[in-house]
Structure formats: structure tokens, C-alpha cells
Amino acid sequence: MNLYEYQGKQLFSRYNIPVPGGYVVDSIDKLKKFEHPVVVKSQILLGGRGKSGGIKFARKPEELVPAVKDLLGAKIRDYTVKQLLIEEMLDIKKEFYISIALNRTERKPVIITSPSGGVEIETVPDDKIFRKNLDPLLGYSAFLGKEASSFMGFDRDLSAQFSKILQQMYALFIEYDCELVEVNPLVLTGDGKLVAADSKVVVDNDSLFRHKDLNNEDPEKTPLEREANEKGYSFVELDGKIGVIANGAGLTMATLDALTLHNGKPRNFLDLGGTDSTEIVVNAFDLVLKAKPTAILVNIFGGVTKCDTVAAGIVEAKKTYNIKQPMVVRLSGVREDEGRKILTDNGIDAFSEMMKAIEKVVSYVKVN
């Protein structure tokens, strides 16, 4: 789960990581008195916010209201701005980069810092980047801050500030089950202070049971994807025509791949999971039908999920939703013969081989 910039900064404050003074508004009435130049920042969970016009500056009192009016309710790449962070403008002397992320390959948190801040870290040359994998059993220790500061070329005072920030970021990374804690840029101000001018915090979705204070919607998810996730399905909307229901994430992906290789683009990813119930199947059809596919493919390898249960669910769904689209079903594995009999008795195409079912369903899309 991605946190908004202001949420990340609230956490930073709690962890004693310096942030600029500021406040959040969702309407123009909530603006406070103008005391010093401010930055007005759209609170959206998409990257490239500045380039898309989501950030404005108010150097004089009369510039504040127009900036807020411009941004509140504005659409940035299909996403409506609902909240703004009004933040003290910093006297920027230099910009740095600092983050802690998961290194999947090493199975360790990795510290990444660079003297080239304020730009995407992917564009910074390797010799300007300090990377250090952290042994989770050792945890954070002061030497890490010294190593990073030495690479950054900091003097004693900056080194002390930087090390403290790094240590606190690591504490946040661990305690909030983060995938990423990133500050870009970390600003050196005219009076020699390091301040987090931005925040990017991503929390592991699987850890949210112990972080009940966090509950953001994922802006990248469509309403249908949200509905499906709430009902317990792994579901992704795609841009093709063939609705897909399969069991197991790997087999579902393999089904999408096979369709694509046959020039039959899938409309969605839907994993039934490993539950043996007709209801799960019927509800899955409800979701797929809402995506308005022109044909439907069901691909099941029966194990815990038995083929005859799935077949009964398909027959029930066909009646319940009066499904008109052509439908192709592939059943293999536990109780496949029983399952295919239920389907053919009800006039539904049933196959045992995956590739035959793929070819058949693609033929329907081509004809129509």
C-alpha cells in the first residue's frame, strides 16, 4: 500500500525525521493565514506529479488562493486531486537521495543513497550511488551511517544529521513493514539542516492486519478490481475480450499467456483460489460478466478444487446470469470426467486439454 506524501511525513515526524512545517487541506476554507512562502502539493499516489502540473508555488499571499483553486479537484492522469499539502518553502542549497528498500535477490533490506537527489534514482549513474545490503540479524548499527556519509562526502555535522535520519528511516522500515521508505529529495537548507522535502512510503499489503491505522485505496486499481479483491479474489482487469476464470495464480497467468500467443487477448485475470465450493465459482462469474467479455474461458486443473464442483458452479452461474456469451471450459485433474459430463449435459463446451480450449475460445472471438 502506498502512503500519501503527507501520511509519510506524519510518520517521519513521529520518527524524528525532519520535515518542513505544513498542513493538509481538502477545501479552500481550511487555508491558514499566509505567513511565509509555501509550496502547494497535490496529494496523489502517482509518480511524476511535478511534471504533470501537480505542484504550485505561492511566494506572496495573493498567490495562495489561486494555486489552491487550480489544484483542488484537478485531474492528473485520470486521478482527481482531493487533498493538498501546504508546506513551508525551503531554502534549497543542495538535494540528495536516500532510501531503504527490499532487495528481493539478497533477501535483505538495502540502503541506497546518492549525492544526486531530486531526480529519478534510475537515471543516476552507478558511481554516484551508494548501495549497502543490511543483515537483518545485525539490524541497524552506527557504522552504516558513517559508511554512507563518507560516500556522500559529508562533514562531521552533516554526517551526524544524515546518520540519525538513516537510523530512523530503518526503524520506520522495520516497524511499519515497509517495502520502501524513500526521501527524494533530502534537502540541505541554507542554514545547514537536512530536511525531507518529499516522502514515499510503501507498506506491505500482507502486514496491514497489524497496521490498522493505514487504509488507503490503491489508485491504480479499477472499481471492479477493488470489488473483486474485497470478495477475496485475485483479479486484474486487462484490455482484451476474453473473460478468464482459472485456479492458481500460475495457471491463470499461463492461461493469459497462451491466449495472447494465440492472438486472443484476455479481458481479465481471475484466480479462483483453492476452495472447493460452487458459490466461489458463481461469484467469479458475476465479476467477469461485469467486465463485459465477448467470450469466456474457464481453465481448471482440479486438486483441492474439484472439477465436478466447478462444473456445477458453471451451470448454476449460466442459469443465474443468463449468460449469452460463448463459453469454453477446460477441466482436468480430480473428478474431471464427472465435471465434463455435467457440462456437456447442459450444452457447454468442455475440454480436457488446455490448448484445445484456448483455440476454441479464440475462434469465437475471431468469428464475432
Binding site: L102, R104, T105, R107, K108, P109, E122, D135, P136, L137, I174, D177, E179, D204, N205, D206, S207, F209, R210, E220, S234, V236, L238, A246, N247, G248, A249, G250, L251, T252, M253, A254, L256, D257, A258, L259, T260, L261, P266, F269, D271, G274, F301, G302, G303, V304, S332, G333, V334, E353, M354, M355
Partner: protein, 286 residues
């Protein structure tokens, strides 16, 4: 335990009274697995599917247990794994999905320094046909043979193993590595075992988008591979959009890393044939 599991593997099931743990412990016994104990606090002295139930893993060690299958809800997995580590278990298989990856990181490093093998989380288990099965793979798809399979998926593994068996081959070992971004053993770890195992003559790796463990495996094959053992791969997620999690927590292309193209290219460069469809795997093994 060169095959990860063998005839000396004695399994304790943590979470045996749950629906999944209970059903699959029964299936494991039918497969021939020595399921020696179940653990469920407060159920000491009872029997489940004929398996004696204990309050703790420590108590269950009296049965000679040396491996555990963890099938408890995600919030309790770390504690269950730590309990198994503390009791002296040598192989931990975590079936549970949705374990916070920070918990897995800690479990992995604690097992790693102690020489304990960790598999999963979020995997279907490990099977050695004719000898032992830990996990939830369907019993009827296997036949003893010379193909070793390692996979990041569940159902897709059954699909491919079934195709291998149907085409006349059989398996030495089938290992589910798990679909999470952080898991215990990876492709390289099991490749070492497959190359050392005299019964394994062919190897199948089933990978998917996300991370770069397939690329690392390809490099390992180039540097340390035994050319007498044919390696075949299948990679899912060719059609997956970037930045979307495709069911598995680990199946996501992030910042350009983890694409199917990159993995297919790496395997191809290592002389590994990559199947376009799951059904094509057996043909490439010939």
C-alpha cells in the same frame, strides 16, 4: 536429506486441526509420508486422522520429528517457525499465503545461520514420488522417474507434472518454492541438489515474472551446470502488465526488473529450452 525429503523424513504438522492441515495430513499419509505428530495448543493427547496431537513442537520431538509443515494463519507463521527452529526441526515448509515479507526475512535469516532448510511461504509443498510428500499437491499426478521439477507456482506445477507423467516420464522430486517476493530456497539452491542427485537426469524450472532468481539460475547453469542433465524451463507472465501483482505477491514487474522476456532470454543464453506452453514441457525433455 539430499532430496530435501526422503524415507527418514518425519513430519510434524503445525496447524493440524485447521481445515487445510487436517485434510492434507490425511492425504500425505496415504502417499506414504511419515506424519508423526500434529501440533495444536490445548489439544494434547488427542488424535487427528490417527496422528497424535501435541501442545508444542518441543513435545512433538519425542516422536522423532525432523521436518515441519506450517499451515497456520499468516499472523502466526513467524511464531510457529521460531517454535520449530527452537525445537531443533531441520526442514521447515510454510504453506501459508499472505505472510508479511518482513516476517519471512527474519525466519529465513534465522534458519540460514543454523543450517535449517526453509521452503515457502506460499508454496504447495515438496514431493518425492514413492517416498514422501509434504504439502497439498494432488497424490495421483506423480510417478517415480528421472525428472526433477522446481516451481514458483502451485496449480501450474500440477499441470506440468501431470503432463510430464502422462507423456511417460516420471519425477525424482517436485519442489514448490513459493510465490512470495521473499522465500527460503530458490532455483539456485535446488539446482545444486538436482545436479548432485544421481537419479535426476532431467530438470524442469517453472518460473514467473518478478525478481531475478531465474536470471541467477541461468548464470549458475552456465558456470556450474552438468551438461549431461537437460534443463527445460517455462515462464509465466509474458502477457502481464507492468506494476500489477498477478495473484502471487512476488509476481510483479517493478522498475523494469522481473520481466518474462529477461528470464526467457537468460535461460535461452544458458542453453535451456523454454516452453511456450505448459503442455510443451514434456516434448522438450526428450
Amino acid at each position: 536429506m539430499g532430496y530435501i525429503v526422503d524415507e527418514n523424513t518425519k513430519v510434524v504438522v503445525q496447524g493440524i486441526t485447521g481445515h487445510q492441515g487436517s485434510f492434507h495430513a490425511g492425504e500425505m499419509i496415504k502417499f506414504g509420508t511419515k506424519v508423526v505428530a500434529g501440533v495444536s495448543p490445548g489439544k494434547k493427547g488427542t488424535q487427528h486422522n490417527g496422528i497424535p496431537v501435541f501442545d508444542s513442537v518441543m513435545d512433538a520431538m519425542s516422536t522423532g520429528a525432523n521436518a515441519t509443515m506450517i499451515s497456520v494463519p499468516a499472523p502466526y507463521v513467524k511464531d510457529a517457525a521460531y517454535e520449530a527452529i527452537d525445537a531443533g526441526i531441520k526442514l521447515i515448509y510454510i504453506l501459508t499465503e499472505h505472510v508479511p515479507f518482513h516476517d519471512t526475512l527474519e525466519i529465513f535469516h534465522q534458519t540460514n545461520v543454523r543450517g535449517i532448510r526453509l521452503l515457502g511461504p506460499n508454496g504447495p509443498g515438496v514431493t518425492r514420488p514413492g517416498v514422501c510428500k509434504i504439502g497439498i499437491m494432488p497424490n495421483q499426478i506423480f510417478r517415480k522417474g528421472d525428472v526433477a521439477v522446481a516451481s514458483r507456482s502451485g496449480t501450474l506445477t500440477y499441470e506440468i507434472v501431470n503432463a510430464i507423467t502422462q507423456s511417460g516420464f516420471g519425477e525424482t522430486t517436485v519442489i514448490g518454492l513459493g510465490g512470495d517476493p521473499v522465500v527460503g530456497m530458490t532455483f539456485i539452491d535446488v539446482l545444486k541438489l538436482f545436479y548432485e542427485d544421481p537419479e535426476t537426469r532431467r530438470i524442469v524450472l517453472v518460473g514467473e515474472i518478478g525478481g531475478n532468481n531465474e536470471e541467477k539460475a541461468a548464470r549458475y547453469i552456465i558456470e556450474h551446470g552438468d551438461k549431461r542433465k537437460k534443463v527445460v524451463a517455462y515462464i509465466t507472465g509474458r502477457s502481464a502488465p507492468k506494476g500489477k501483482r498477478m495473484g502471487h505477491a512476488g509476481a510483479i514487474i517493478e522498475r523494469g526488473v522481473g520481466t518474462a522476456e529477461s528470464k526467457i532470454k537468460a535461460f535461452t543464453e544458458a542453453g535451456v529450452k523454454v516452453a511456450d506452453y505448459p503442455d510443451d514441457v514434456p516434448g522438450l525433455l526428450k
